[in-house]
């Protein structure tokens, strides 16, 4: 028996603004994502990768078309089965690394002790336990991004979306961050979608989807069959 798709997206468009100043960021996108998929969304800056990723994560609503997360039923996407890593460091500056990683679990009502234990495990997995008590300001860009990944890992997501996670990092640090993402996806048996314009990063994923001028070139044949 085939497992349910994590995402089913059909005819999705997203337009910003109205009238003559309207900008179509995503146009008629269709795709599906299954558990274990490792997909790179590639395309130049401004092509609509981030917007599409935000729609897939449930952070933004499409202007038209439908998107569904059949595997998750009525469960809240975040915090929970969907984890998101952003392009810019996205740690709460007033919380230390451990508290940042534990936050999604606390938000869904976990006891603080349990949340902290899970957060420490996630940090351990990514080799970040040594910086658990540091504040975000004390971290390098790469460390901050890996802590963001640990925060996703702690929530045991089924779908992991990363929006240009290496966009502000040097080559070596970018490699470490992608390692962490792949490890997290494998550890959680989660589907992974990374938006990137770095071809090396894209090549480390099993599948590459291209986004150009808001149009997604993905496995639409399979979806429409």
């Amino acid at each position: 028996m085939m497992s349910q798709n994590l995402i089913e997206c059909k005819g999705v468009s997203r337009t910003f603004g109205r009238g003559r100043s309207a900008v179509v960021a995503v146009h008629d996108a269709a795709c599906s994502v299954a558990a274990g998929d490792q997909i790179a969304l590639v395309g130049p800056s401004g092509s609509g990768k981030s917007t599409l990723l935000h729609i897939l994560a449930g952070l933004d609503q499409p202007t038209s078309g439908t998107i569904a997360w059949p595997a998750f039923g009525r469960a809240s996407l975040r915090p929970g089965p969907v984890g998101v890593v952003f392009q810019a460091p996205s740690l709460l500056p007033a919380l230390n690394v451990l508290e940042n990683v534990a936050l999604p679990l606390v938000l869904i009502g976990s006891r603080n002790d349990d949340a902290n234990a899970a957060a420490l495990n996630a940090l351990e997995t990514l080799g970040l336990r040594g910086i658990a008590n540091k504040l975000p300001d004390e971290l390098s860009g790469g460390q901050a991004q890996r802590v963001s990944i640990a925060r996703v890992l702690a929530g045991r997501p089924q779908l992991l979306l990363a929006d240009e996670p290496t966009g502000q990092l040097d080559h070596e640090t970018a490699r470490l961050v992608v390692d962490a993402l792949l490890a997290t996806a494998e550890f959680s048996n989660a589907a992974l979608i990374i938006s990137t314009h770095d071809i090396e990063v894209a090549q480390r994923c099993a599948t590459q989807w291209q986004v150009a001028d808001g149009r997604l070139h993905a496995n639409f044949q399979e979806l429409t069959s």
């Binding site: 952070l59 933004d60 952003f86 810019a88 999604p104 938000l107």
Partner: protein
């Protein structure tokens, strides 16, 4: 070019923060300019109000041997003089009258020659009590001593000549006897001589007939004064007006060339008014400067809220090649923008305030002072803007690396001043200075004898200023300490809002403790400012009322003429007037203490407070209530003035024999009293010396229950209307005065400075600052952390959870800030009143707390917090993906 781009970016991309910073500058500029309006207005009205009550502007006294006609001619032709009339003085060896079968003789006195038209030219010198407006007049105390009335004959003794007789036409009150009988040319600081008890005033022609022979025989017993009214077109500033009239008097003395000396009553009055003007300046410093400083702090806070972002923006520019001077120019352009916009708005608001509250849109009495005040206000705004924007940017640009600029600044470590305990040192230094300067009594306005210039002792502000600054820093320390060490407490207090998120919220607050502590300090300082301003204003208002009450006696006062024999039963007629709540008869007699004639008041100690308020400050050695109880203990108990106690070396319980007139025999008789307490003031009584005794005892001993004054309580309302009704019901020679009128007349003390406008402005600004310190600062803080909330929202935080962060921080800042501010406000108010004790006469027994205003201020502050928090929560709930991509 880059500056223009930067400015356009600020206006288009950061309109909220730029406008809010400009608003902070506008508040400071408006406050300073409004206070300028108050100072100009109060100074201008003070000159006008003080000189309009001067009975005679100049009294020019002839030198021995100079003819009166020659003196009058010189004075009349002086450029400043508008009216001049000669008044003749002759010393009499005594006055005698025979009435009712007995003969009364007084000691030495004065006989004055009053020219025609004198009373219309100088209307506030003489007031007729009984009889016609012309003819021979006798002073009321003299009439009482001689038991004479209009129609009776008085014999005037002439040294070396035979006595002469005159027929009394009317009994008068010499309203300005102190000025009339002053020693012209007395050295500065000389003790003023008491006016004579025995005075008769004759028409000039009659005086010359009777006393020209005396002038020939004994020229030393006769003199002439030229009483003058001068041109009142004087500068509105009392100091300038004082210098002006002093110069005019000197000019006349030059013209007189030794033939006369000028006694300038108008200069004396203006000397007092210029002290009042300086006190107004003192009020400005005390009430205005903290407000302006607070506005500056708010502006700095608003500007600093965006400082992290500004640093990051500058860091980006530096990586693109911008130099330090270029970055500083950008910051200066932002400073200029904020100053121009803020100053324009502030001056506009001040103009509106000035025209609505003070009746003038100008910021000064003259064009020069208006320009000066306007420029000073704008300069104040520029300093605030520069300190808030340009200076931090310059420091950052010079001292920080690009990577450091891109990081958020340390929000957990203690600043250097806190590490070294500078707050404690500053506060302790302030307290010590305050103790040093207040232990000997505060002297804010220095007016050395014989020195024409006076000045404010600004050193006296040093203590309170340091305590205010130190207090604000200590508030910061308390808040920082509470957040740093109070994790458990924060968890417990935030749990109702945050639930299981409480430890996270507490952790967030602990890390943000410097930001929170700044908010707490700001709220505490604002609350202190609002509370101390409101309490001071309320106390000032209360003391102004006390001052007027002391002069008038009660809400409405009915004063019987000296010779009247109206008894206490007259009170029932007064009581029948609608609006009268209580009436208290007070006897007024003259009693000899040794050879000294003093005012004696007969009261009922148990009921006197039904009609008037007795302040504790009126008495020495106990509260007003205690002294009244002491007085009531024995019928012959007596309260005497401190001066009398000193002069006669009295001790409590000493027997004092007073000589009072017996109504049955019309002769003075000795009546025993016992001294029990010291009185400093009493309603309607003169301030130097008076006596207070039991009404019934005096009535019994003198065989007369005649009442001099009826004190009437109207519950503080409709005083003028009730006084008007009473005037219609009493005889023409009965004087009816009311508190409303008295408050207008009192113009020599500071409490006559019209604070109503200043109060409105101060309290209005305090409310605005309270709202800004609470709501605006919190809102800007939340807005600056939009990214934090966007991340939390993206992570799945529900609205209630986002609200937990917002409400917890708001609650911490407001609760702690208000608590510290309440303590600070109370302490500061007490300090203010202590410092300004010299202003209040008598000093206040207790602080007046305007609960309704304080309640309103609290409500405004809380409302601002609630609105800011609601807006912040609503903003946080909206997905803001673009925020997540910002640098």
């Amino acid at each position: 070019m880059i500056v223009v781009t930067w400015i356009r970016g600020l206006i288009l991309r950061r309109p909220g923060r730029t406008a809010t910073t400009a608003l902070g500058v506008a508040v400071a500029v408006a406050l300073l300019a409004s206070l300028g309006s108050f100072l100009a207005h109060s100074k201008a009205t003070m000159t006008r109000r003080s000189i309009e009550n001067v009975p005679v502007d100049w009294q020019v006294e002839s030198a021995p041997g100079v003819s009166a006609a020659q003196l009058l001619d010189t004075v009349s032709h002086h450029k400043s003089v508008r009216a001049a009339l000669p008044v003749s003085f002759a010393k009499t060896s005594g006055l005698t009258a025979t009435t009712g079968g007995s003969q009364q003789t007084t000691g030495a006195g004065f006989v004055l020659g009053i020219p025609d038209g004198y009373r219309s030219t100088f209307p506030s010198m003489i007031r007729t009590l009984t009889g016609p407006q012309s003819g021979v007049m006798i002073a009321q105390q003299t009439a009482a001593n001689l038991h004479v009335a209009p129609g009776d004959t008085v014999t005037i003794g002439r040294t070396g000549l035979s006595p002469v007789q005159v027929k009394i036409g009317s009994v008068v009150d010499l309203v300005s006897a102190d000025e009339l009988f002053q020693v012209v040319g007395a050295p500065p600081g000389a003790t003023a001589a008491a006016p004579p008890d025995n005075v008769i005033l004759l028409p000039t022609a009659q005086w010359h007939t009777l006393f020209d022979p005396l002038a020939q025989a004994r020229a030393d017993l006769v003199k002439t004064q030229i009483h003058t009214r001068i041109d009142h077109s004087l500068p509105s500033d009392p100091s300038a007006a004082y210098s002006n009239v002093l110069g005019q008097a000197n000019n006349l003395e030059v013209a007189l060339a030794g033939s006369g000396r000028v006694g300038s009553n108008i200069a004396a009055t203006l000397a007092s008014a210029r002290s009042d003007a300086l006190y107004a300046q003192v009020l400005f410093v005390f009430l205005g400067v903290p407000g302006a400083v607070l506005a500056g702090l708010l502006t700095a806070t608003v500007a600093s809220v965006g400082r992290d972002r500004g640093r990051r923006e500058h860091a980006v520019l530096r990586t693109r090649g911008a130099t330090v001077p270029q970055l500083v120019r950008l910051a200066m352009s932002e400073t200029a923008l904020v100053t121009v916009v803020g100053s324009a708005v502030g001056l506009g608001v001040a103009s509106v305030i000035g025209s609505t509250v003070f009746g003038s849109a100008q910021f000064g009495a003259t064009t020069g002072s208006a320009v000066m005040w306007g420029a000073a206000s704008v300069l104040g705004g520029l300093v605030i803007a520069a300190a808030a924007i340009a200076l931090p940017a310059w420091i950052d640009a010079r001292g920080m690396t690009v990577s450091a600029s891109r990081r958020r600044q340390d929000r957990v470590g203690q600043p250097r001043w806190a590490k070294y305990g500078l707050d404690i040192i500053v506060f302790a230094l302030g307290a010590f200075t305050f103790w040093l300067t207040s232990r000997g009594g505060y002297k804010l306005v220095l007016a050395p004898e014989g020195v024409p210039s006076i000045s404010v002792n600004y050193w006296a502000f040093f203590g309170p200023a340091l305590m205010w600054i130190g207090g604000g820093m200590i508030a910061w320390r308390i808040a920082e300490f509470t957040a740093r060490r109070g994790r458990g407490l924060l968890c417990i207090t935030t749990r109702p809002l945050a639930g299981t998120l409480a430890p996270t919220v507490a952790a967030s607050m602990i890390r943000q403790r410097r930001l929170l502590a700044r908010g707490v300090a700001l709220v505490a300082l604002t609350a202190t400012f609002a509370a101390s301003t409101a309490i001071f204003n309320a106390t000032y208002k209360q003391q102004a009322l006390v001052d007027a009450l002391l002069t008038n006696g009660a809400d409405v006062t009915v004063v019987q003429p000296q010779a009247a024999t109206v008894g206490p039963e007259f009170a029932s007629l007064i009581r029948s007037v609608h609006g009268v709540r209580s009436v208290e008869p007070v006897q007024h007699r003259y009693a000899y203490v040794g050879a000294d004639l003093q005012d004696l008041y007969g009261i009922n100690p148990a009921t006197i407070v039904n009609a008037t308020k007795l302040q504790d400050a009126y008495f020495q050695g106990g509260s007003a209530r205690l002294i009244m109880q002491k007085l009531a203990q024995h019928p012959d108990n007596l309260v005497v003035s401190a001066e009398t106690v000193r002069d006669f070396q009295l001790h409590p319980g000493d027997l004092i024999n007073l000589r009072l007139q017996d109504a049955a025999t019309k002769q003075y008789k000795t009546i025993p009293f016992h001294y029990v307490a010291i009185g400093a003031e009493f309603p309607t009584a003169p301030r130097d010396s008076f006596l207070l005794a039991n009404r019934d005892y005096i009535a019994q001993q003198t065989h007369s229950n005649a009442v001099g004054t009826f004190l009437i309580d109207t519950a503080g309302t409709s005083q003028a209307a009730i006084a008007g009704t009473l005037r219609k019901q009493v005889a023409g020679d009965v004087l009816v005065t009311d508190l409303t009128h008295s408050r207008k007349v009192i113009a020599s003390s500071l409490t006559a400075v019209d604070l109503a406008g200043l109060t409105k402005v101060e309290l209005g600004f305090a409310l605005a600052l309270t709202a800004a310190a609470t709501g605006l600062v919190l809102w800007l803080g939340f807005m600056e952390r939009r990214r934090t909330f966007a991340i939390a929202h993206a992570l799945g935080a529900r609205p209630r959870q986002l609200g937990a962060f917002v409400w917890s921080e708001a609650g911490f800042v407001v609760a702690l800030g208000l608590a510290i501010g309440t303590v600070g406000g109370t302490l500061m108010s007490q300090g203010l009143v202590k410092i300004l004790k010299g202003v209040f006469d008598p000093p206040p027994s207790y602080l007046a707390v305007p609960w309704s205003y304080l309640g309103l201020a609290t409500l405004v502050g809380l409302s601002a917090v609630v609105i800011a928090s609601l807006v912040a929560v609503r903003e946080a709930r909206r997905p803001q993906l673009s925020v997540l991509r910002e640098i």
